[in-house]
C-alpha cells in the first residue's frame, strides 16, 4: 500500500504546486479585505468573506484529490497498478488513507497560516487581535476536516464503482459550495449561523466538534468498506 | 569455438551445432577436459532456444564426445585415439564417395583419377 500512497502523493504534490499561488491569493485577499475594514468577529458578512477564501482552498484540495481518480484512468494506470503486488482492497484503502492524510496535513498548514497571520497581522491591524483566536481556528480546522470527510464519503463509492469518467456528476459536488454561498441569501445563513452559535454555546464547542468528527470518521469508514465491496466486482 | 548457424540450409539447428562442435573436438581445436559454454549461455550467444542447445549437447554426449557434470557444465571428453582415427577415416571415405560421384559425372575413369591423385600427392 505504501507504493500507492507514494504514487498518489507524487501526483498530488505536482498538482498542488500548480494551484498553490492561485490558492494563496484566493485565501489571503478576502482575509486582508475583511481585516482592513476593522471587522467585528460576529460581523457575519465579513467573516463570511474570509470563509469563502478558506473554502476555495479546500475546493482546490478537493479537485486535486478527485483529479487523482481521473488521472488513474489515463494511460491505463488503474489497470496497470494491479500488476504491482497489491490487492484491490489495498487500492481502495490506500486512496481513503491518502485523502485522510492529505486533509490533515493540509488542515495543519492552513491552521499554521492562520496562527502566523494572527501573530503578524495584529501588529499591522490592531483590531485583528480579537478577530483571531487560536481556539476558534482549531475549531474551524477540525470542523472542516469533519465536513470534508463527510462530503468525500458520499462521493468515493460512486467513483470506485463507476470510475471518474462515468461518475463525473459525483465530482462536481464541491462546485456547489461556492455556488451555494453566492446563491443562498446572506440573511438565511446569518439566521442558521446564529442558531448554531446558540446551540454550540449551550453545549460548548468542543464536545459538539468531537461528536461531529466522530460521526464523520464513522461515515468515512463505512464508505471505505462499501467502496471495497464495489471495487472488488468492478470490471476495469 | 565459433559456431555459425544457417537458417536456410535446411539442416536442423541442433545438428549444425553438434557437427560444428564435433569438428572442433576432432580437429583438436578443443582440448580434452576443456569446458564448453553452458547450455543457456550458448543459446543466448546463438540467439536460439535452450532446448536446441540441450539437444545438441545430448547428442554429443551420446556419441561420447563430451561429458556433462551436473551443476558444473559440459566438458570435452578424453577422446579415444582409435575413435578419433575411425572418425577421420569415415570422413575420408565420405569425401572419396563425393569425389567418385563427381568423377562419374565428368566421365573420368579409374586410371585418370589415380593419376590425378598422384599428381596432388607430389605437389604436397
Amino acid at each position: 500500500m505504501r507504493s500507492l500512497l507514494y504514487a498518489d502523493s507524487c501526483f498530488a504534490l505536482r498538482r498542488m504546486k500548480q494551484y498553490l499561488l492561485v490558492a494563496l491569493v484566493i485565501a489571503l485577499v478576502p482575509v486582508l479585505l475583511g481585516v482592513s475594514r476593522g471587522s467585528d468577529p460576529l460581523d457575519i458578512p465579513a467573516a463570511f468573506q474570509m470563509m469563502v477564501g478558506i473554502v476555495a482552498l479546500y475546493v482546490m484540495l478537493f479537485f486535486t484529490l478527485c483529479a487523482s481518480f481521473q488521472a488513474d484512468e489515463m494511460g491505463g494506470w488503474e489497470r496497470a497498478r494491479l500488476t504491482l503486488p497489491v490487492t484491490r482492497r489495498d487500492v481502495v484503502l490506500g486512496r481513503y488513507l491518502f485523502i485522510l492524510l492529505s486533509l490533515c496535513s493540509f488542515d495543519l498548514v492552513i491552521t499554521l497560516l492562520g496562527v502566523a497571520s494572527a501573530c503578524l497581522l495584529p501588529q499591522a491591524f490592531p483590531l485583528m487581535r480579537d478577530a483571531f483566536d487560536l481556539g476558534g481556528m482549531l475549531l474551524a480546522g477540525a470542523g472542516s476536516i469533519a465536513a470534508f470527510l463527510a462530503l468525500v464519503s458520499l462521493q468515493m463509492p460512486f467513483l470506485f464503482m463507476w470510475g471518474a469518467r462515468r461518475a463525473s456528476f459525483a465530482l462536481s459536488l464541491p462546485a456547489l459550495i461556492p455556488l451555494a454561498s453566492m446563491v443562498i441569501p446572506k440573511d438565511a445563513v446569518a439566521l442558521v449561523a446564529r442558531a448554531a452559535i446558540v446551540w454550540v454555546g449551550s453545549w460548548g464547542p468542543w464536545p459538539v466538534l468531537l461528536v461531529c468528527l466522530l460521526a464523520a470518521m464513522v461515515m468515512y469508514g463505512l464508505s471505505a468498506l462499501l467502496s471495497c465491496v464495489l471495487y472488488e466486482r468492478r470490471e476495469l | 569455438m565459433e559456431i555459425v548457424l544457417s537458417n536456410s540450409s535446411g539442416v536442423p539447428i541442433y545438428e549444425q551445432i553438434a557437427s560444428q562442435i564435433r569438428s572442433c573436438i576432432l580437429s583438436g581445436e578443443l582440448d580434452p577436459g576443456e569446458a564448453l559454454p553452458s547450455i543457456r549461455g550458448l543459446a543466448a550467444t546463438l540467439r536460439i532456444s535452450a532446448i536446441t542447445t540441450k539437444r545438441a549437447f545430448a547428442e554429443l554426449e551420446a556419441q561420447g564426445l563430451i561429458e556433462t557434470v551436473p551443476g558444473k557444465g559440459s566438458f570435452v571428453a578424453g577422446i579415444d585415439p582409435e575413435l578419433l582415427q575411425e572418425e577421420r577415416l569415415r570422413r575420408v571415405e565420405q569425401a572419396l564417395s563425393r569425389v567418385l560421384l563427381e568423377a562419374r559425372e565428368a566421365q573420368l575413369g579409374r586410371q585418370e583419377l589415380v593419376e590425378m591423385l598422384d599428381l596432388m600427392f607430389e605437389e604436397e
Binding site: S3, W77, A80, T83, P85 | P12, E15, S49
Partner: protein, 322 residues
C-alpha cells in the same frame, strides 16, 4: 510430430515439469469475444511465446494471470499456488515474484523516472535499486553518472518518454524487482530492430541462471524464433496449438506444390511426413508438413522449405486439413 498439428487444446504436455505458471480451463466472456478453455503451463527456466492475431485473446489471458481481470472460469496457479485460494498477504507475496512489461507504459504520466523506481522499491520487497540503475544506464534511460538518480533524465516525466523508453523503464523495474516470472505483452511492438535486439539480449541474460521464466506475446515472430523455447497460438479465444520452436524450425516444412504435384502427394501410399494442412492460392497450394526431411526423401523434386512460425500460424488459421 503429429502432436504439433492437432487442433485440440493443450497439445504440449508439460505437466510433468515444475512450472512457474500454470493455467487450466480459463474462460471469460465479453460482448463479442469469449475465451474458451485455455490451458497451458510455463515450465521453470523456459520462455513461452504467445502468438495470435489482434483480438485473439492474448492480452486478456495475460491480464487475467496478473489478477487485473477476473476469469469467469478456470484456475491460475503461480509458483504452485492457486490464486483463488490465497489470502491478501499470500497474494501479495506471490505477485511480488511476477514482473510485467507491456507495450504501452501505463505508469502515471506525471511521475518521473526516479519516482517510478521508488514506487517499485516500496512495492517489491526484493527491489534492487543498484540493478535498476545499471539496467537503466545500459538501456539509455539514465546517463552514466556517479549519481544517476539525481540527473536530469531521472526527473523526466513518464508522459514525456518515447514508446521505447517507456518500455525500457518497465523492463528495468520488472527485472530489478527480483521477479521469477516475467510476463510481457508485446514488449517490442513498434520498436526498431536494434532496440528489439537490445531488449532480447537483456531477457536472455535474465534467463541465464535457469530459475527464471518468461511468458511473452508478440507479433514479431522472428523475435520469438530467436528467444522462445515453446510457442502457443491463440485464435478467437482458443488455444490452437503449442509446440517447441525447434520442432518448427528443424522438422516442419512448407511445400509449394502445383496441382499435379499435390495430386501425387495426396495419392502417396505412405505418408511418413505427418498430417497436412493446406492453403490454396491461385493454383499453387502451400502445404504444411510435419516432417520435411521425410517429405524430401519421398518427393525430392518438390519445393519444400523449412517452415517458420508465421507459416504455421497462417496455415493453422486459414488453412484446411487434407
Amino acid at each position: 510430430m503429429a502432436r504439433c498439428m492437432e487442433s485440440s487444446v493443450g497439445t504440449l504436455d508439460l505437466s510433468g515439469e515444475p512450472s512457474d505458471l500454470r493455467v487450466r480451463g480459463l474462460a471469460k466472456s465479453f460482448d463479442g469475444f469469449a475465451l474458451k478453455d485455455v490451458s497451458f503451463g510455463v515450465p521453470r527456466g523456459s520462455v513461452v511465446g504467445l502468438v495470435g492475431q489482434n483480438g485473439a485473446g492474448k492480452t486478456t489471458i495475460m491480464r487475467g494471470i496478473l489478477g487485473e481481470l477476473a476469469f469467469d472460469g478456470g484456475e491460475v496457479e503461480l509458483f504452485g499456488q492457486r490464486l483463488s485460494g490465497l489470502d491478501d498477504a499470500a497474494l501479495r507475496a506471490v505477485k511480488s515474484r511476477v514482473g510485467f512489461v507491456s507495450s504501452v507504459c501505463a505508469y502515471p504520466g506525471e511521475m518521473s523516472v526516479a519516482q517510478v523506481a521508488t514506487m517499485h522499491y516500496l512495492a517489491y520487497p526484493q527491489f534492487d535499486h543498484q540493478l535498476f540503475e545499471e539496467l537503466a544506464e545500459r538501456m539509455g534511460l539514465l546517463p552514466h553518472d556517479p549519481r544517476p538518480h539525481l540527473s536530469h533524465a531521472a526527473r523526466k516525466l513518464v508522459k514525456d518518454l518515447s514508446r521505447g523508453m517507456g518500455m525500457k523503464l518497465q523492463l528495468a523495474c520488472a527485472l530489478a524487482c527480483g521477479a521469477s516470472l516475467l510476463v510481457m505483452d508485446e514488449p517490442t511492438a513498434g520498436l526498431d530492430p536494434i532496440v528489439r535486439e537490445e531488449v532480447l539480449d537483456i531477457i536472455r541474460e535474465y534467463l541465464e541462471p535457469g530459475d527464471k521464466s518468461v511468458l511473452i506475446s508478440s507479433h514479431i515472430t522472428s523475435d520469438l524464433e530467436h528467444l522462445a523455447d515453446y510457442v502457443m497460438m491463440v485464435d478467437a479465444g482458443e488455444l490452437l496449438f503449442s509446440c517447441e520452436v525447434s520442432r518448427i524450425e528443424d522438422e516442419m516444412g512448407l511445400a509449394q506444390l502445383r496441382a499435379a504435384e499435390l495430386e501425387q502427394v495426396l495419392r502417396a501410399d505412405e505418408r511418413g511426413f505427418g498430417p497436412l494442412r493446406a492453403l490454396r492460392r491461385s493454383g499453387v497450394t502451400a502445404l504444411l508438413v510435419a516432417d520435411r526431411h521425410a517429405f524430401g526423401r519421398q518427393f525430392p523434386d518438390y519445393v519444400c522449405d523449412p517452415a517458420d512460425i508465421d507459416d504455421v500460424m497462417t496455415l493453422m488459421v486459414k488453412g484446411e486439413v487434407i
